[in-house]
């Protein structure tokens, strides 16, 4: 009984971590640009494919050994490449809609998401098939009386570390201060000698890299990855960011934990719950927005005349 509860708890935290990493990207970008980057899930999902591709290359060099270093290298390459693709997506497409109505940018990024998915499907070797994705960590950790599976602990721990680093970056470093300044008022930030375009590029890199980590964990947790997994991951990440309050990092994490929580509860307690988990997750989203229209921690919008 105890181990079952522990298992559900871990499952909740793992899902919550994955969603939080994706939701953070949505929140960061919305806070900065007021734009919903709907292809964020698809951009993030590029990472597992890059990882699978570079895995072969790294294995070729190390002769097939599964040490810590090769795995870290593969993950780093995947995250870096995905971050750069995030910048590319902004430069090529999203930046052209800075002054357009929100709906235009939204539709453009949805189309961009399709482009990314179709590129993977069409040009990645056997891209339309699901691909097995290896676990990042195997085995168990012995913590006193507790015996915990290593991968979930690694996922939750890494996420906590990344989130802490991102908080530190946003609050304590010069670049974080600049990001917050541009988010507050881009025109005034420019007068203070900040180049908004560089800030945008950096934020897109940061958001996409965080999403990439989330997608890598997702693929590793599920053991499989397919070109269209990004749609659902993106939708859930977006929902988490919105119910938490767009633009708030803490909100995004709370939202992710809430959605992961309802999914875990439904899965554990309702017969046939696995197929209904999305129904309940999105009903929660609707309910939450009816009760708190600006999300949990979002600033209420005051209209000025």
């Amino acid at each position: 009984m105890e181990s079952l509860i522990l298992q559900h708890l871990l499952n909740w935290l793992v899902l919550g971590s994955i969603y939080a990493l994706v939701a953070l990207g949505f929140s960061l970008l919305f806070g900065l640009l007021n734009v919903i980057h709907f292809s964020h899930g698809d951009v993030s999902m590029i990472a597992p494919f890059v990882a699978l591709g570079s895995l072969q290359a790294v294995f070729g060099i190390t002769g097939g050994s599964m040490g810590i270093l090769p795995i870290l290298t593969v993950l780093a390459i995947a995250i870096l490449v995905t971050g750069l693709i995030g910048i590319g997506a902004d430069k090529l497409v999203i930046s052209r809609f800075r002054r357009s109505p929100a709906m235009m940018a939204l539709v453009a990024t949805v189309a961009l998401g399709t482009v990314i998915r179709e590129l993977i499907r069409g040009f990645y070797p056997q891209g339309s098939n699901p691909k097995a994705f290896p676990a990042i960590a195997q085995g168990f950790l012995e913590l006193g009386p507790l015996r915990l599976p290593a991968q979930p602990v690694l996922i939750v721990g890494t996420t906590a570390l990344v989130v802490a680093l991102m908080y530190g970056l946003m609050q304590k470093t010069p670049i974080g201060t600049r990001i917050r300044a541009v988010a507050e008022d881009a025109a005034t930030a420019r007068l203070m000698g900040i180049t908004p375009s560089r800030i945008f590029a950096f934020t897109f890199f940061l958001a996409s890299a965080a999403g990439a980590l989330g997608a890598l964990f997702f693929a590793s947790h599920a053991g499989v990855v397919r070109f269209d997994f990004g749609v659902q991951l993106g939708l859930i990440g977006f929902s988490a960011a919105v119910i938490g309050g767009l633009g708030s990092m803490t909100g995004a994490i709370l939202g992710a934990l809430a959605i992961a929580g309802i999914e875990s509860i439904v899965q554990a307690n309702i017969a046939d719950g696995a197929s209904y988990r999305l129904v309940f997750a999105f009903l929660l989203v609707i309910l939450m927005l009816c009760l708190r229209p600006s999300g949990l921690l979002g600033k209420p919008v005051f209209e000025k005349v």
């Binding site: 179709e118 499907r121 999105f282 009816c290 600006s294 999300g295």
Partner: protein, 391 residues
């Protein structure tokens, strides 16, 4: 405004009726050629012609003004001619059932796009659930027909009522949420509906519903070909006329609503919600009404689709379907009926006609959409200025 209009008219050397006839017949011929084009070079050439036409419009906006003015002057002729073209069109397709099928799907998507246009175009309310209300309409009518033996004509209003109730329900959160938050509510609604259809046993689960009986009218089954004056039209022609009639209804309601207080209220909300509220417009009611109208029309389209294909599954009504409908509205031109219909036709037919690209069709279409949004951000035919008062 009036001086510029007369100015343009005096410059137009051709009489209005001629311009109207040339535009409509030319458009019909271009569409027909595109529908019947089999070879890749021809499809590409026709696309190039269309591209050139739009480039001309982009460079010389006066052309559009002249055509619009001509249609305004010769309204009667334009309507009669358009109806005549729609009626005789299947005869020119020469029994090409694939072309007819494409036309039917395009017509149904035009209705859906017009339905969404009431919200997105007129009132600037984001709605990602048109696919869901379309699905509710299709499933309601299919279930009534399969399990209770209702006829097509009886299910049509029933499906519309059920979908409208759902539309109003969906509209309720719009009282409190706005913009991105409202967009998420509609996305969530769409996903909930899709997942329910996919999981409930009485909707057939992922396998959907099969064996929806064909409708019949005055003893003529829609499964049978139409035989008229020695001509023989394939059975699809039945559904073509039905969908065309529905689109006609949608256009008429769009026009009437646009000219009514309701349309004016929607436009006021789009321009400035707070100002509209201060003018005494019941913003909440008009927003919810927009959701209801959208669901009502979408359910009609869903019913026809269900009875036409006679098989529906949840995959026909996903989030991506809603996004496609939204893309049609934005690419075509928000709040411009003709633009929206053109957007629906183009985005339905383009992937089908680009068989050459086979696996890369979706990629190509998405790239075109992005380029289009960058190059012509206001859509094929941009929103037009409202005419107030007398004409």
């Amino acid at each position: 405004m009036s001086t510029t209009l007369t100015n343009i008219q005096s410059r137009a050397a051709l009489p209005a009726s001629l311009i109207v006839a040339a535009t409509e017949i030319g458009g019909a011929i271009l569409l027909g050629a595109f529908l019947l084009a089999e070879s890749t070079p021809l499809v590409v050439a026709l696309l190039a012609v269309m591209g050139a036409l739009f480039a001309a419009l982009q460079l010389r906006p006066q052309i559009e003004e002249v055509i619009v003015a001509a249609f305004h002057d010769a309204r009667g002729l334009a309507t009669v001619l358009a109806v005549a073209i729609v009626l005789i069109y299947p005869f020119f397709l020469g029994g090409n059932t694939y072309a007819l099928h494409l036309l039917i799907v395009s017509l149904l998507y035009s209705v859906l796009a017009l339905a969404l246009n009431f919200q997105l175009g007129s009132a600037n309310i984001p709605n990602f659930a048109t696919g869901a209300t379309y699905g509710i309409g299709a499933y309601t009518s299919a279930l009534l027909a399969i399990h209770f033996g209702w006829t097509f004509w009886a299910t049509l209003p029933a499906a519309a009522i059920v979908a409208t109730v759902f539309g109003f329900l969906l509209g309720i959160p719009s009282m409190r949420t706005r913009d991105s938050y409202l967009a998420l509510v509609t996305i969530a609604f769409g996903i909930v509906i899709h997942q329910m259809l996919n999981n409930l046993s009485w909707t057939g689960g992922p396998n959907g519903l099969v064996g929806i009986p064909a409708p019949s009218l005055l003893g003529h089954s829609f499964m049978r070909p139409i035989e008229l004056f020695g001509f023989r039209l394939p059975s699809q022609a039945n559904f073509y006329y039905l969908s065309a009639a529905l689109l006609g209804l949608a256009i008429l309601s769009a026009k009437r609503l646009h000219e009514s207080r309701v349309g004016l209220a929607w436009n006021a909300i789009r321009a400035d919600e707070l100002a509209a509220k201060c003018q005494g417009i019941n913003v909440v009611w008009y927003k919810i009404l927009a959701f209801g109208v959208d669901a009502f029309l979408a359910a009609f389209a869903g019913t026809i689709y269900a009875f036409y294909i006679s098989y529906i599954s949840p995959d026909n009504f996903t989030f991506l379907v809603s996004v496609t409908i939204m893309t049609m509205v934005i690419v075509g031109g928000m709040d411009n009926t003709l633009g929206v219909i053109l957007g629906a036709f183009l985005l339905t037919m383009l992937p089908e006609k680009l068989r050459v690209f086979s696996d890369y069709r979706l990629l190509f279409v998405s790239v075109v959409v992005i380029l289009f949004l960058i190059l012509r951000p206001k859509g094929l035919f941009p929103q037009r200025q409202r005419h107030y008062g007398g004409h």
